[in-house]
Symmetry: C2
Subunit: 489 residues, 2 copies
């Protein structure tokens, strides 16, 4: 396979070191390491997902897996090694992925006759199997999902956002008609939007990518696009309408109900451990993580406060009682460690983004109350009655989930600008970032110039926008295409 150096990525790496971006990058890394979500590994570009980070990923998996099953898909597992010849069957696919491949050349002490690619994505191997399984229209639709690790050799990497190896789910489907496949691609984008907004508490734009940003081998790529708290955009998930490109490359043919022989229509779609990065950057503040209650591995932490041994006994007993009370309905943790002060624990659990903290001291025990601290607002509510505490906590968790979503919606609104003048566009991309809605003539050359001059890219061509007459923000040419630009991760 032919390979080119990834010059763009190197340039981006240098750019990253400047000013507030550098500061934000440091905050991001420090937050991940200190909250013990992940750690650097001795393997270039690969990270270790530590128990706290993996527990968050497990919550993401659990909720999303159910949504994927509820829309009729079944999980399966395909080999992670792909014969090199498979990768070359779809022309655009190989051009897109060849530069990023890790290659196994030796196995069992011998040089392999044909090198194996470690999957960067599984269209090729899965569609080879689909061709074997699909004979008749009765075998369709074929709706498969896989949870797996994949490898893309990246020049510059960043914990969770872009790692050489990452974890993800990849859906692959085959349908009898173009319309069904198109509906499927959009349905799964809808699932991603639902998940992002209702579980991750992050509002997302949905729409189509431009040709430049399209998945290698797709006819159309749809995406969900979120805005982080530093006003940079993050692509959080993609869904591709593949047309018949892979079906033709791998000969996925079926006998139609009418008796003809036709190529299947296909989709693929995926989200990854990058979603953890989206949660960190989308909600976090100077104190550390702020986790959405629905996905937080620990939703409520109980911190005992005492000075004397006698107090300790009373307070521990009450904490244990609260723990046992909440346990059936809430992911609760009682921090019993004696080597740390309450103040240390407050910081510790704030950094880890636990939505609600219950502080319990001797006076609280005596008065049959607890003190409740909210991570999202910093608010402390004293004297919350023990009776009805489960309901109070459940209500607060819902309130936190709602509040951080609304805050993110408001932040996005504040940081979305409609611009018509390129000077203003450039200064916005230099200073304020955010989403910029502007007209674009549709030329790749304008898109490329804008990227070169401002580092901003077209994040998405929103679905629901009516054509709007105007002038291309770059060349001033006539344009009815309104798109969203941003600097992105």
């Amino acid at each position: 396979m032919e390979v080119k150096d990834n010059v763009d990525a190197q340039a981006a790496m240098q750019e990253e070191e400047k000013g507030k971006d550098a500061e934000r990058a440091r905050w991001y890394t420090d937050t991940i390491l200190q909250s013990e979500l992940a750690d650097y590994s001795p393997v270039k570009g690969c990270m270790v997902i530590r128990p706290y980070g993996y527990a968050l990923w497990e919550q993401i998996q659990k909720a999303l897996d159910q949504m994927i099953k509820d829309t009729g898909h079944s999980n399966a597992y395909f080999p992670m090694f792909i014969p090199e010849s498979f990768m070359t069957k779809e022309k655009e696919h190989v051009e897109g992925f060849a530069p990023e491949c890790a290659v196994v050349t030796h196995g069992g002490g011998k040089k392999l006759e044909e090198p194996l690619i470690v999957r960067p994505t599984s269209e090729t191997i899965i569609n080879y199997m689909f061709a074997k399984w699909v004979q008749s229209w009765r075998d369709l639709p074929l709706l498969i999902n896989q949870w797996a690790n994949v490898v893309r050799w990246e020049m510059r990497t960043r914990l969770f956002l872009r790692t050489t190896e990452f974890l993800w789910q990849e859906g692959h489907t085959a349908h009898a008609t173009e319309q069904e496949a198109e509906e499927e691609a959009q349905r799964m984008l809808g699932v991603y939007k639902d998940f992002a907004e209702n579980w991750m508490a992050l509002p997302v734009l949905t729409g189509e990518k431009t040709e430049n940003e399209r998945f290698a081998g797709a006819v159309r790529t749809y995406c969900i696009e979120a805005l982080m708290r530093d006003a940079k955009a993050l692509q959080a998930g993609t869904s591709h309408f593949l047309g018949q490109n892979f079906a033709k490359a791998f000969e996925i043919k079926f006998q139609s109900a009418e008796g003809g022989l036709e190529f299947a229509w296909q989709t693929s779609w995926g989200v990854s451990t990058r979603l953890v990065g989206a949660i960190i950057l989308g909600h976090g503040d100077e104190k550390g993580l702020i986790l959405p209650p629905k996905l937080a591995p620990i939703q409520v932490v109980i911190v005992p406060i005492y000075k004397t041994d006698e107090d300790k006994a009373t307070v521990f007993e009450r904490c244990q009682q609260i723990h046992d009370l909440l346990k059936p309905s809430v992911r609760v943790h009682f921090d019993k460690r004696e080597q740390h002060t309450p103040g240390w624990k407050f910081n510790h659990w704030e950094q880890k983004g636990v939505p609600i903290r219950l502080n319990v001291g001797p006076k609280d025990v005596a008065g049959n109350v607890v003190e409740v601290a909210r991570r999202d607002t910093g608010e402390k509510i004293r004297g919350v009655a023990m009776s009805g505490l489960e309901n109070e906590v459940a209500g607060l968790l819902t309130a936190v989930q709602k509040n951080i979503f609304e805050r993110a919606v408001a932040f996005r609104k504040e940081n979305t600008r409609q611009l018509t003048e390129y000077g203003e566009f450039k200064s916005t991309m230099e200073e304020k970032y955010g989403f910029v809605e502007a007209n674009w003539c549709g030329a790749s050359s304008c898109e490329a110039s804008i990227k070169e001059e401002t580092k901003a890219t077209i994040r998405v061509i929103p679905f629901d926008w009516q054509p709007q007459d105007g002038k291309c923000i770059r060349c001033g040419g006539a344009s009815t295409k309104r798109v969203v630009f941003a600097k992105a991760y």
Copy 2:
């Protein structure tokens, strides 16, 4: 790395082609392909786990993951690439695994400075991280589990039982004392035994492996050993006491409570997709799979029986009603397909090993009853009343689970022999197979001769056996060691 050809495996491959073993091998492969548990892939030695097989693996994962968490372990994820130099740090480990490694030599279009091994197991990379995380006795015990794919380059492979890439969980722990680590290794073996017997419905022997069969790098290897329906043994899980071998290789040192600097004591343990093979071979019969109800992806299937369109409407309505009734408590499927006859469906679901089938015809609807068919006994119970059907079904699922376990216990008993004479030992291993309890002098040479002459190996030195005076089955020398021999998968 130095590599030797795997001559044993080649010999075994030839041996496999003969007589009843060949017949059994064909049954095994046909059953897997026809029940759609898995399929061959275009990648040598790798399989595709199809939705039905993956759903079974998901049930295994769900139950076992909870047991692993309940014993205090947390899940995490480590890179699948291991720098070659890591593998060589523990001398016995590299000798054991080097011949089986897949090696990545190129990434991003360039030759790597240091080749990367695709993990065959993760002791090396995980212990490198443990050394970073463990400083004080307060950091211990460190109890980590990982669900992952691993690669071992095998000469001959068989679906689920031995594939180049397979899925597994691998536990890795570090402790302050030898005793704690020893207890942990045995505790996790206990978890595996519990899981095998109470979920998979397969009785297992537990004990220690001989030095020859020990994990490369372990001080002691414990295992669970099951007997398949063809009277061959299957190692279903292992738990290793690693001593301080890896701690010394990777410098996992900690400050003890007394202030000294000590090396940690460690364990590792794992089970894999091989468990699916154990379920197939441990319970299946000439009709196909027999799945234990607690793990069956579909516990109850409903088959409508009708001739006229009018009957169809009534019967479908009742089937849907039963489906909705059972759904909250049971994994139930209503087979609505119209292109297949009831007879075809009976065979189909029997082959897939669904524990209970409900047949519903017009007369059943009229009489407010259903017909219940048990997969394990073939028994049909006519006229089971609709009222109380949930309880009836729940009771039957428990009964099936119990019955197939007891049947497996009885089968093992029938196929376990106490022998003292080598001639009889040889003929047993030629014709009847099964477990053979016999004395062994402890010499590797006798163990090797027996393997060469009969293909039988020492499966396990059981924990709970008292020394028993006798003579080595092979050399006649004095022996107090009673062990279990078998021909194994």
